[in-house]
């Protein structure tokens, strides 16, 4: 039984991702693109060389890991944070703002300070939905979603206003000083953020598995009423707390992206990491180890999307088709397997 469920735990996500790619191929054929050329370009862009893998796939896996971890944390506590995209941008804005001021500091201090500010900014941005939920019962799904659009507009305002580069020509910020740029693995663009993201996943694994907080989260997510009545847990507080940490992780991802990849703030910094991370989290089925694997797979998809555009002329948003179908396949598989369980237990 246990071995059975473990096989299913690996097989189902793989099959779901396979379904996503298959539908993408069919979709390419139907809409007049060459599926072999597009998927080939995608694969080469993601896994074609050590450089492609380290500097394309892994670099994109970093924000996905962090945001997906946050989404999972919320999911475990029964809250849905669909605002990862907005929190990512707030982290990026805050990191750019503070990073530009820290040029004279030594990197060992400047970088942690910058990332801490990004972390706090993400939490502050999601504090609004958390408060609205606690105080007024506003669905966090709607409020986090709406704040994504406000955050994107805020970036556009920043790069044409207070944070615009000193020439005042381009809609972007000045380049960050080298002191706050994350160290890079020689010969690649892979930066220290990967270590940070992996550490967060390990930490989450430990917290979920071995601590009281993890236990409480599980209790609240599984059955809020039972947790409140029998466990004496303050369900709303735990939900709001999970939401805060979840936003903080997305903010951290934004700070890491600015400090490790773009070195500047500009609009469209994120190719939709906040939404892709939801697919990452669902495919990983709430397991931190699973998030590492699934973030690398979706990082490959994102890296491949760029190559697909260059080599096959396919707009990069097309990978959303694969992501959406993967999510739907995971949902369907879960629905089918839970129904089968119902039948067996009945």
């Amino acid at each position: 039984m246990r071995a059975d469920s473990r096989v299913a735990g690996i097989l189902l996500p793989v099959a779901s991702l396979g379904a996503g790619l298959a539908v993408l191929a069919i979709f390419f054929t139907l809409s007049g693109y060459d599926p072999a050329a597009a998927l080939g370009a995608m694969f080469r862009g993601a896994f074609g060389s050590w450089y492609a893998f380290s500097s394309g796939t892994l670099v994109r896996a970093v924000p996905l890991m962090l945001i997906a971890l946050g989404f999972t944390l919320g999911l475990r506590a029964g809250v849905l944070n669909i605002g990862g995209e907005g929190q990512f941008y707030l982290g990026a804005i805050a990191a750019t703002w503070i990073g530009l001021k820290l040029g004279s500091w030594p990197g060992v201090i400047a970088i942690p300070v910058m990332l801490a500010v990004a972390f706090v900014a993400g939490a502050a941005w999601v504090a609004v939905p958390a408060w609205l939920r606690l105080r007024f019962g506003v669905l966090e799904v709607i409020s986090t979603l709406l704040l994504n659009f406000v955050a994107e507009t805020l970036v556009s305002f920043m790069v044409q206003g207070p944070l615009q580069e000193s020439q005042h020509i381009y809609p972007q910020s000045d380049q960050l000083p080298t002191a706050v740029r994350l160290p890079v693995l020689p010969g690649t663009r892979l930066h220290l953020g990967i270590v940070l993201a992996l550490s967060c996943c390990v930490l989450a694994w430990y917290v979920f598995r071995r601590t009281m907080i993890g236990f409480e989260l599980r209790a609240v997510g599984r059955g809020p009423r039972a947790a409140r009545v029998t466990g004496g847990l303050r369900v709303e507080r735990i939900g709001a707390g999970a939401l805060l940490v979840s936003g903080a992780l997305a903010g951290l991802a934004g700070g890491v992206e600015v400090g490790g990849v773009s070195y500047a703030l500009y609009p469209n910094l994120s190719p939709g990491y906040g939404f892709t991370a939801i697919a990452v989290a669902l495919l990983a089925r709430q397991s931190p180890v699973g998030i590492v694997v699934s973030a690398i797979l979706f990082g490959a998809l994102e890296a491949g999307a760029g190559a697909m555009q260059r080599d096959a002329g396919v707009p990069p948003v097309a990978v959303y088709v694969a992501e959406a179908v993967t999510i739907l396949a995971v949902l369907l598989a879960d629905a089918v397997s839970s129904r089968r369980r119902d039948v067996v237990s009945a």
Partner: protein, 305 residues
């Protein structure tokens, strides 16, 4: 000074901007009354918008509108199969449906109209003034000198009201949204009704996208709905799941968005991003201020067996 021209322009713009929101929100209201919250409404709108662009450039505005309805229906049926058919989590299924729409429309748009960024000019729906009424001061031009889709949206308000509160099917649908178990015990075909309401909602959302393209913007762009579908969901909450409330909330949003034209006309130098944020921020403020004490359909978001 604010002259009458500015006010007429403001009111007209408010109603024009409110129209797609009203259509999408009425559709979402129907499915939420049946207990189904559909975040795919954003995707259905976007798909409807692209279908309208393709349809209109091939066969004129009416073909475009028809295509947008069909596209919205199709997208909603994907959501419905997952969320109602397979009882998957509605929020996540809706998010996935919207993602799917972003991907599909982005790629199809480029395949159909060439590389993104190329300007696209489409036949649009001009204003069809209603004789007599259009001449009434203030409300006349704003309400009765509009494209035909605005009249469709305004007519849909009493129709939805009549359906929900004066027909047996409407009563059954509301029962499903409050308690699917009791509704089933009373012999109501729960999931069939949810399917029907969600698909109708999708058709409304598709038409909303078509309206956006053919009566408002005149072109298509990647992700052009920019969260209007999500605002429509908030409008349903603000309108307290009632057609008249939804109408009022939509008009309020139209007005908030149209304010920028007034300020521009008055020559106020405020960063334009402030106006872009306004509708979203206003939604949040209103949600906080008005939601307390309002009851959503009791079974909203809970899959029915």
């Amino acid at each position: 000074m604010i002259d009458a021209g500015i006010i007429d322009g403001f009111l007209g713009a408010a109603v024009r901007i409110a129209t797609p929101l009203l259509l999408a929100a009425l559709g979402e209201m129907l499915s939420e009354r049946g207990g189904v919250i559909n975040l795919g409404v954003e995707g259905a709108m976007l798909t409807g918008a692209l279908a309208a662009a393709i349809g209109a450039s091939a066969g004129g505005t009416w073909t475009g509108l028809a295509a947008s309805v069909v596209a919205g229906l199709l997208l909603a049926s994907i959501f419905a199969l997952a969320a109602i058919g397979a009882r998957a989590d509605q929020i996540i299924a809706g998010t996935a449906t919207t993602l799917l729409a972003v991907g599909v429309t982005g790629a199809v748009y480029q395949a159909a109209f060439g590389s993104a960024g190329a300007g696209l000019t489409l036949p649009t729906l001009g204003a069809s003034p209603i004789p007599g009424l259009a001449k009434v001061p203030l409300a006349g031009p704003a309400l009765f000198n509009q494209p035909v889709t605005t009249y469709i949206a305004l007519l849909a308000v009493p129709l939805c009201w009549w359906f929900l509160f004066r027909t047996r099917t409407g009563l059954a649908l509301r029962a499903v949204g409050e308690s699917p178990e009791h509704a089933r015990a009373a012999g109501v075909p729960v999931r069939r009704l949810q399917f029907a309401a969600t698909l109708t909602g999708g058709a409304f959302a598709g038409l909303a996208g078509g309206t956006l393209v053919l009566a408002q913007v005149g072109t298509f762009a990647e992700r052009m709905t920019a969260g209007r579908g999500f605002i429509a969901i908030a409008i349903v909450v603000l309108g307290r799941w009632h057609p008249v409330g939804v109408l009022a909330a939509s008009l309020l949003f139209g007005a908030a968005t149209a304010l920028q034209f007034v300020f521009q006309a008055m020559g106020l130098a405020v960063p334009y991003q402030l106006f872009l944020m306004l509708p979203y921020v206003l939604t949040l403020l209103l949600l906080a201020g008005l939601v307390g004490g309002v009851k959503a359909p009791a079974a909203l978001g809970r899959p029915a067996d």
